[in-house]
Symmetry: D2
Subunit: 482 residues, 4 copies
C-alpha cells in the first residue's frame, strides 16, 4: 500500500493544480520500438519527367500562410506491434497547396470525368474541383466529360460541357453525378488525342480501381507522347474496397442508407408473428464492408454474411441453427447478406457485364429459401420478409461527413495537379489527406475485409453469430475492372 | 524527350500487365526523415500500482484470435515536416482486448455515468458498454448512475438503475442519454465512498474535459484509498474541442443537423427579396469547429465567424462590406456565427452557470442589428432572417458514422478496464482507437481551432470571406469546467 | 362595356371597405340542385339490441363542452353533378364523445388486436386508444392481444399483455405494432369464448377489409350469445383500397417512402449513360393507389402501371415506344409499376398465402426484360436499374399528418364503443371522422382506382404516358381476405 | 334476448355470404334532417362580365374523358346537427377542366407571382402551373414575376423571368420559391398597367389573405379597365389561418418540422436533471393551428399555449402549477407556445413591419423566465432548454402529402383560368378541390381556432393541461395584411 500511495502522491505532486501534465512512467522503459528510417512513396512530377514548368508563384492565386514542402509526408505504417523487427516506416506525400505551380492558371485547361457506378458525393467532388480551380486558381476552362470515359469520344448531345461556378452551384445537393457516368468505353489513344486536340493540361478522373488503372495508362501515354498533362485520380467505390486509404468518400452515407433498410427489416421481423425473420441484401461483390459496417452501425443484426467468409449453412455451428436459436430466445431475427456472399455454395456465373463484373448468384432469395426449408423441416412456422434496397443506398447526396471528405479530396487533387504531379490519386490515410501513386493504390485494390481482422471480430461480437464462420477465410477472387 | 520516354518505358517495363507494382523512384533519394525512437505515452495499470490481479484468461469470455500486447502502440506524430530535426515519435497504447484480465468478470461490478450537455451517441456508448460487459465478459452487475455525478448521492426516485441487455436494447435509437445527465455536483469523496460501499470494480465516465478531470481525481482517490478500481473515461463534447483525438463522437451528427439550419437560412436568403440575408447561430463557446465544419460541409456559407478569430466588423476588409459585396454579386448571403464569437467586441459577462461556463453575449442578434444598420446606412434594404437551432443539433441519435465510432470507443473502454488499466480515456487517434492517460488529454483540452491551420484556411477558401479575418488570432481564454 | 363596368361597380359598392362580403350573382339563378332528404347510415347500439346500459354520464370522465347527438351526421354524397335527378343524400353518423356512456368506465375491460400486414401508424392508434381509454375514461383493464387474431388462443410467451399509459409511452415513435400481427388464425368461437372468459366489454380490431369481416362476425356472435360487448374496427391498408373513407391511415407516409425509391431511380436513370431507365416496383396487388399517388407526389415519373389499367405493351401507343420516345427527348426515363399490374399479360398464379392472397407474377423483372429486349431490338443500348423498396415503405412510423389522423381515429373509436355502439368502424369521410357500419365498408372493399377517374387522369397528365392506357379498364378481381 | 337474436338473425339472413350488404335499420326512422335547397357560391366568368370568349374546345389540349359542368358543385355545409331547422346547403363550384376554353391556349400569355412569407410547396405550385399550362394547354408565354408584387415594377436584374418546363424541372425538390417573394409593394395601377402592356391574359397569385385581397382588387381593376384578364389565387399560409378551406398547402409539412423541434425539446427535458423543461416556440401570430397540430402529432407535449386562449399563469388551475405537477409525476415537461400567445399578459407593440404585422412580445423568453421564477420560488431546481426553430419549419420542400395537394391546387387554378373564371381562388373543401370567390375566402380570413372546438378539446385531452385554459376565449384581433 505504501508504494502505491507514494506512487500516487509522486504522480500528483508532479502535476501542480489540476493533474494535467504528461506524467513520468517508471524508471526503466520496458520496451523500445526501433525505427530504422522512413521510406516516402513518391509520385511523378512533370518537371522531373522533363516537361517544362511555368514555375508560377501560388501566392498570387492562393493566400495560404504556408505551403506543403516536397518532402512533407504522412506516415503510413502507424501501428507498431509487439516485438517487431527494427522497421522502416512507409510514408505518403502530404497533400495540400504548393508554393510553386507547374501550370500558369490563367492558361490552364482542365477536364473532369466520372466513371463507374454512382456513389454519394460525386457531385461534391465536381463542385469543389470547379470552385477551387475556377474560383481560386482561376483556370481558363473546365470541360465536364459526360457519361464516363466514353464521353471523350461523344459527338452528339452528350458532348462535353463547359463547367463554371454557376453550373455547379447546387450540384452538391443532388445525388449522382451531373456529368453522368458509364462502365467501359475506355480507349486510351482516343482520349489522349482528345486531350491533345483540346489543349487540356489537367485531367481529373473520379472512379474505382479499374478506372484508376485506365487513368494511369493515360498518364503514361501522355508522357510517352510528350504531352505536358497532369492526370489525377480520386478513388470512388461504394464497396469501400480500395486499398491504402482509410475509407472512400460516400461510403458512410451508403452505410446510413443501408441501416434504414436494416431498420425496416427489424421492424418487420419484430412485428410479424410467428417467428419473424428479416433478410436484407446489400451491395458488396467481393468485399463485405458495407454489410459489416451497416451491421455494426445498426446494432440490430443477428447474422451478417460477407464474401470474405464462407457460409457454414448446416450443422450445430451453422447459420440456420443460429437463426433458430436467436428466434427461440427473442422471437425474431435480422439477417444481412452481401450480394457476393456464398459463391462457394451457389457457384459463380460465367456471364459478365460491360464493366467485366461477373453475374452474381441470387444469394438473398437462396438464403430465404434455405431458412424457410429449415423451419419447415423443424416443424415450425417462420414469417420471412426480404428487402433489397439496391441502388437506394448509393443515389443519395453525400451526408455532412462525406461532404467534408469530398471537399478535402477535391482540394488535394487540384493542389497536386496544379503543382505538376501526375499519375497520382488522393485519399485519407490515417486521417490525413495524401497523394498516392496510382500503381500503389491499384496494387492494393480491390481489397477485402480480413477474416481475422478487427472489423470482422466486431461483427461476430455484435451479432453473436457462430465464430466458426471465422474459421476459414476465402481467398479474394481476382477481378479486373475498368 | 529521350530521357522522358526512357523513364516512362522503364517504368512500364517494370510493371508487367496492368501497371500496379510499386515503382522505383530515382537513383538518389533526395531526402531522408530521421527517427530516433518511439516514446509510448503509457497509462496506469492497477497491478503495476500494487493492486492484486485475478489474472483471468480472456479467451474464456472473448473468442478473439489475437489480443493486443502491452507494447503495441499507434504513432501519434505522423506528419513529418520538411527539414525537421531528428525526432522521437510519440505513440499511444493501442486499444483492444488483452489476453489476461485483471478482474474476474463473473464477480465484477460496474458503474456508468454520463455528465454535462447532451451529445449524439451517448446512448450508443451506454448500449455498447452494456452489451460488451454483460453480453460478452459476463460481468455480474452494471449500475447506471442517473443524472450525472450528482446521481451518486441521489437517494430518491433517481437512484441508480441496474442495466441489462434488455434495458438498453433500443437505447441507441433515441437521442440523449437514458441515464440522464447534469452539470456540476462533483464530490470525489462521496462518489468514491459510494463505489466502495457498492463494491464497484470499474467506473465508466462519459463526459467533457471537466468531467474527465473529475474522473482522474476519482482514480487518484481510489489509489490513495487502496481501492482496486479501474476508472475509464470516454470523451464527449459537442464542440469537438477535446485535444489529442481526431474527433469526438456525435460531432459529425451535430454538423449534419447544423447543415439543416444553414440550408433553411440559405432558402430564406435566396427567396426573400430584396437582399436576403440568412444568419445562423451555432454552438461553440471557445472553439468554432461546429461552425467551421458546418460551413465546409454545407458549401453554402458566405461568412463564418468563430471565437478563435477576431471579428473585423467595419472597413474595406470588414465583415459588413463583405456581406454587401456578396449580395451585390448574387442577391443574397448566408452567415454562420458561433455563439462564442465576437467577445472582443461585445465584452464578456461575469455571470457563470452551474458548470462554470460564463454567460455569452448575444452575438447572433448583435450581428443582425449591425447588418441591418449597415444596409440602412448605405441606403439599401435588407431582409434578414435569423435562425438559432440551439439544442436541435445535439438531441438527435448518432448517425451511422458516429454509431460506428461509439461502438469502437465503448469496446476500447471496456477492454481497457477489464485488463486493469485505470485513469485512462479512449479515442480515435490517426483513425485508430487508443488509450490515453487522462492528464494527457486534459492538458490539451479545451482545444481551439488554429487560426492559421488547414481547417480555417479551408473556411476562408470556401466562403471567400476576407483573409484579413485570419490576421490576428485570439489567445484561447482559459476555462475550468467540471 | 357599360354593363361590365356597372356590374363591377355594383359588386364593389355592395362591399364596403375591402371587398369581402358574399356578392350577389345574377337576377335568375340558372340552376337548382334538388335534395329530397337525408338517409343516415346507422350503426348498431347495444342498448337498442336489448343489452343493459349503465347510462353513466360522460361529463365525469370527459370535460367536453358539447357532445355529439345521436342524429348528428356528416353528408357522404357531396359532389352534386349537372342535371342530376332529385336525390336523397347519404349521411354517416358523426364520431365523437357522447353525453351518456353505455359502459361504466371503472368496470370496463378492453382488448385491442392488430391484424394483417404492417402499416405506418398502428402504434399511434394503439397509444391513442390506451391514453384515451385509460387516461381519460379510466377503464380498468386493457389487454393487448399479441400477433393478430391467433393471439387470442395463444398460451405461451406471446399471451396477451396488459397495456398501460407507461407501456405505450414511446410506442408512436416506432414503426410496426408493439402487439405484433399475423395473417389468418381467425376462429370466431374461440375468440368470443376468450372475450367472455376474460369479461371483456370492448374489442378494438385494427386491420384490413378481411379483418373487418372477421370483426363483424365477432360482433354478430356476441349478440347471438347475449354478450354485451362492443366491437369496433379501425381500417388499415397500405394499399388505400378500403372503400367509403377518404384515405386510410399510414397511406401518405407510405407514399413518402415510395417517393424516396422513385427519387433513387430517377438519379440512377439520369446519371447512368447511355439511356438510363429506372424502374421501381411498389406494393398494390389489386389497387394502384400507392403507385399513382407516389407518381403524382414525386413529379418525376414517365410511366406508371397499375392493376386497374391493362398494359398496352407494344405498338405505337404502347408502353415500350413511350419509354423510347421519352429517352429520345431527355436521355432517361423513370417507370413505376404496381406489383399487381400486368396480370392480363403474365397470368395469375393459383398459389395463395396464409392470408388468401394469390401469389403475384414478377412484373418488375418481366418489365425490365421487355424494355431491354425492345432497346436491343431497336439497336440501342439501355442502362436499366431496378429498385424494389418492398417493406421499406410500410415499416416506418407515421409522419405528422398520419399521426394526427391516427389520433382522431383512435378517439373516434373509443368514444363510439364507450357509448355502446358495436359492429362499426371509423374513418375520415369528406374530411370528417364518422362511424360506419362494418358491412357498409366491407361491401365497398377492396376498392380499385377508377380507370376514368380524376386520379388516373392526373397520372396520365403528369407522366404524359399514352392515354390509350386508359381505354380499357379491367374488372377488379374478387378477393376474400381475413 | 329473443328479440336480440331475431334481430341479429334477420340482419345476417339479409346478408348472404359474408355480411356485406347495407342493412336495414328499424321500422321507424327516428329523425329526418330537412334540406330545402342548395345555394351555389358562384364565381365570376369573364364572358358573363361581357368579355369576348375564344370558345376553344378543351379536347384539343386535354384528352379528358369528362369535363366538369358549370353547375357541378361540392357541398360546403356537411355536418348536420341535431334538431336543426330546415336548411339550405351552401355549395362551392367544383374545380377541374371545362369543355370550353375562354382563351385560345396558343395565344395565351400568363404571369405567376408569389407573395408573403415562405411556405413549403410554393415551388410545387409553380412547377405544376407551368407543366399544365405549357405542357398540356400549350400557352405561348409564362412570365415569372420575381420578388412578389414589387417584381412587377422591377426593371433591374430581378425583372420577370420566362418560365419553361425546363426551368421548373427540379424546382419542386427545393424549398422556398424560385421566383422569390416579399412583403408589401402592392400597386394595383402599376401592376394592371404591366399586365396590359405585356398583353398578359391570366395572372396567378400565390399568397395569403392580404395578397388575395390585392389579387381581387387587380381583378376588379382589370374589369373596370375592360381588360379580358383572368386573375386566380392560390391560398398560402404557414399558419393555416385561411378560412373556408380544409387546410392550406405546406401546413402539414411545417407541422412535421415543428414536431422535430418538439422532439429535441423532449429529449433535452427528459435527459437534463433535475426537473428538465423543454420549451418550443412556434409560428402563429393570430392562430395557434401550428402549435396545436404539432402538439397533437407529436403526442409528447404537456402544455400548449395559443393566441386564441388566454394564458392563466398562476393559481391552482394555472400554467405554472400544471408544469410543476407534470414534473413531479414524471420528472420532466414539454411546453409549446405559439409566438402570438400571451398578448393579454405581455401587451402588444405598436411597431409593425412592411407587411403590416405588429411586432410580437417575446413570449418564449418570458415564459422561460416565469417558469424559472416559479421553481425558484418553490425552492426547486429546474433545467430549462428553449428552442425556437423559427424559419426551419417553413423553408423545406413540400412532403409527399403536400406535393400531392399542390398539384391538385395548381391544376384546379389553371383549369379555372383557362375556362375564363376570374377573381377566384382554389382550395380543398371537404376533401374536394373547389373554386371560391376571393371575397368569400377573404371574409373568413384570417381565421382562428375555436376555443371550444374539437381541435382545442383534443389538445386539452392529449396534454392534460387545465381545461380552465378553455374558459375564456379571446376575440381575434383584426389584421390587415397585403
Amino acid at each position: 500500500m505504501a508504494s502505491r500511495l507514494m506512487f500516487a502522491r509522486r504522480l500528483m505532486m508532479s502535476v501542480p493544480g489540476v493533474a494535467c501534465a504528461r506524467f513520468a512512467w517508471s524508471e526503466e522503459e520496458p520496451y523500445q520500438h526501433k525505427i530504422t528510417g522512413v521510406d516516402i512513396v513518391r509520385i511523378h512530377h512533370l518537371s522531373e519527367l522533363g516537361f517544362a514548368s511555368k514555375r508560377v508563384s501560388n501566392r498570387r492565386s492562393f493566400g495560404y500562410a504556408k505551403f506543403i514542402g516536397a518532402n512533407e509526408c504522412v506516415l503510413g505504417d502507424i501501428v507498431l506491434r509487439e516485438a517487431a523487427e527494427p522497421t522502416t516506416l512507409k510514408a505518403y506525400m502530404r497533400a495540400g497547396p504548393r508554393a510553386t505551380l507547374h501550370f500558369d492558371p490563367s492558361e490552364t485547361r482542365v477536364a473532369i470525368v466520372t466513371c463507374g457506378g454512382l456513389c454519394p458525393g460525386m457531385n461534391s467532388i465536381i463542385k469543389n474541383l470547379v470552385t477551387t480551380l475556377k474560383g481560386h486558381y482561376g483556370v481558363s476552362k473546365i470541360y465536364g466529360i459526360r457519361g464516363g470515359y466514353r464521353g471523350f469520344t461523344s459527338v452528339g448531345w452528350d458532348a462535353p460541357l463547359l463547367l463554371t461556378e454557376e453550373t455547379v452551384d447546387a450540384a452538391h445537393r443532388q445525388g449522382g453525378t451531373i456529368l453522368g457516368t458509364s462502365r467501359g468505353g475506355f480507349d486510351a489513344e482516343k482520349i489522349v488525342e482528345w486531350l491533345r486536340a483540346k489543349r487540356v493540361d489537367q485531367l481529373y478522373v473520379i472512379g474505382g480501381d479499374g478506372t484508376h488503372r485506365g487513368a494511369y495508362k493515360l498518364s503514361e501515354l501522355c508522357i510517352e507522347k510528350g504531352l505536358n498533362i497532369a492526370v489525377a485520380g480520386i478513388p470512388k467505390t461504394i464497396d469501400n474496397d480500395i486499398g491504402v486509404i482509410d475509407r472512400s468518400f460516400g461510403f458512410m452515407t451508403a452505410v446510413s442508407e443501408a441501416v434504414r433498410a436494416i431498420s425496416a427489416a427489424r421492424v418487420e421481423a419484430e412485428c410479424n408473428a410467428p417467428n419473424g425473420v428479416g433478410v436484407v441484401k446489400l451491395m458488396g461483390r467481393n468485399a463485405g464492408f458495407l454489410a459489416a459496417y451497416a451491421t455494426l452501425a445498426s446494432q440490430d443484426v443477428d447474422l451478417c454474411l460477407v464474401p470474405e467468409v464462407p457460409i457454414d449453412l448446416v450443422g450445430p455451428g451453422g447459420v440456420l441453427n443460429h437463426i433458430e436459436r436467436v428466434i427461440d430466445a427473442k422471437g425474431h431475427a435480422v439477417v444481412v447478406v452481401a450480394e457476393g456472399a456464398g459463391e462457394e455454395l451457389l457457384g459463380v456465373s460465367a456471364v459478365t457485364d460491360a464493366g467485366g463484373n461477373r453475374q452474381l448468384p441470387p444469394v438473398g432469395e437462396w438464403l430465404c429459401d434455405k431458412i424457410k426449408d429449415h423451419f419447415k423441416h423443424e416443424g415450425k412456422e417462420a414469417t420471412l420478409k426480404y428487402i433489397d434496397p439496391s441502388y437506394m443506398v448509393r443515389s443519395v447526396p453525400a451526408d455532412a461527413s462525406d461532404s467534408y471528405l469530398c471537399m478535402t479530396l477535391a482540394h488535394a487533387s487540384a493542389h497536386g495537379a496544379m503543382a505538376g504531379y501526375t499519375g497520382f490519386t488522393v485519399g485519407l490515410v490515417n486521417n490525413r489527406t495524401v497523394m498516392v501513386p496510382i500503381p500503389e493504390l491499384a496494387k492494393a485494390s480491390p481489397r477485402a475485409m480480413a477474416a481475422h481482422g478487427r472489423t470482422w471480430e466486431r461483427v461476430v461480437s455484435i451479432t453473436g453469430q457462430p465464430a466458426s464462420q471465422n474459421s476459414l477465410a476465402k481467398p479474394l477472387p481476382g477481378t479486373t475492372k475498368i
